[in-house]
Symmetry: C2
Subunit: 243 residues, 2 copies
């Protein structure tokens, strides 16, 4: 009697969502956690105009200088804000749909990731991991390598500007997941998730919500050192500098 839904086809569900949102002016982004928890949020946030960016994002945009790499650029909202200020920014995203949308919006964007940067991408003075993209550190295991890969593309004295979110909270559907993470030796805010859209799903990936003190612990042995952390409720902007 029990009906089991077939697994979705692996594909660019994130890019499809951005493309629909760009074409229609509205879309919902569906994310699924590996315990079956599913949620959807307004995808127009990927298109926030420069003047409506959050205070933390605007601070990051102001601090960014030199040659800038916007990691996980999405639809390019931060890159566009930087370009409007005449700054030199390259957007990077592993989603072909995202890169297509970012380019249609006038962003210089390339397909790739920190682990797999495009050939000849060069080096940078500033790295942006905005839109909560400190999550790309993935977790305790992966973070050292990600931080090392960033440093390999860095010029002397480079800045790393990333926003993150403290996962602490009281929603039992989230705290139970965090407890399960702890029991399995994972960081509490380590979320195994994927994006879904229509018949498509991305591959599963780890995305990390971490408190500032956890971030400090992860960067201690890395080529990066903490300069400042601007907190705003559970959210924060971390300013790191290459040692």
């Amino acid at each position: 009697m029990e009906h089991t839904t077939p697994e979705p086809r692996i594909g660019d569900a994130f890019g499809r969502t951005l493309q629909r949102c760009w074409a229609a002016g509205a879309a919902c982004e569906i994310t699924e956690r590996d315990d079956g928890y599913i949620s959807a949020a307004d995808a127009t946030r990927y298109f926030t105009p420069a003047e409506d960016l959050s205070e933390l994002d605007q601070r990051a945009v102001a601090l960014a200088q030199g040659r800038i790499l916007d990691v996980g650029t999405g639809a390019g909202r931060h890159a566009l804000a930087l370009q409007q200020q005449g700054k030199d920014v390259l957007g990077l995203d592993p989603s072909p749909g995202a890169v297509a949308v970012a380019r249609q919006r006038g962003v210089a964007a390339e397909l790739g990731s920190i682990a797999h940067p495009p050939e000849g991408i060069g080096t940078f003075d500033t790295f942006l991991l905005l839109g909560n993209n400190l999550g790309l550190l993935q977790g305790e295991q992966a973070a050292p390598e990600v931080l090392r890969q960033l440093a390999a593309l860095a010029r002397p004295g480079a800045l790393l500007l990333g926003t993150g979110m403290d996962p602490a909270g009281s929603d039992p559907e989230h705290t139970a997941y965090q407890d399960r993470n702890r029991a399995r030796g994972r960081m509490p805010g380590q979320i195994r998730m994927r994006v879904r859209a229509g018949a498509l799903a991305t591959e599963w990936f780890d995305y990390l919500l971490l408190a500032p003190h956890e971030l400090e612990r992860l960067i201690r042995p890395s080529p990066w050192q903490r300069e400042t952390i601007h907190e705003q409720g559970p959210k924060y902007l971390a300013v790191l500098r290459l040692r």
Copy 2:
């Protein structure tokens, strides 16, 4: 290596979505088809103010008279429009969360469905199946019984006002599903689906997209006869009257 997500818990995912939207002013409603196709849409449409209702909906509101039953009232957008015109309407919904939201918005709403109406609900001069709720006919097998149950609650000369949508289209993700339906002896627009929200999912249910000519075929042997069908692109308002 393949990760299979656990099945969600059965619960009032639709009501949860409406409650979140009512509390936060925004939410996405996630629907999943039994072939794994998943989509999400802006749930604020359940809260459309009377003056912004579609032309077909406004026509239905104008035609409704006497004692009115709004079947699948949701957050009560049509019931509120009727109440504002001084009309006598009762909202009916099987979702406890929907009924709670409708009541908070000032709608007289009861928990139940056409198959399981609340005790002593009485009889009605008008039935509304708006918001595409001709879909509640479910399919060829179930429709005669649904139409009979509606007639059992009807006063002489009662009206049934329902909106529907012709499923014909060219999106291969939908036409393939329709072809599969035909091959299994189902109506092409018969969608087996559920609503999902967080850890919750509703039970699977059939929801029917049908063309006007298919509706006419379904009602021919029923206690209802076609009065008019107002078409607007693939959408339409059917006006049926008790024989």
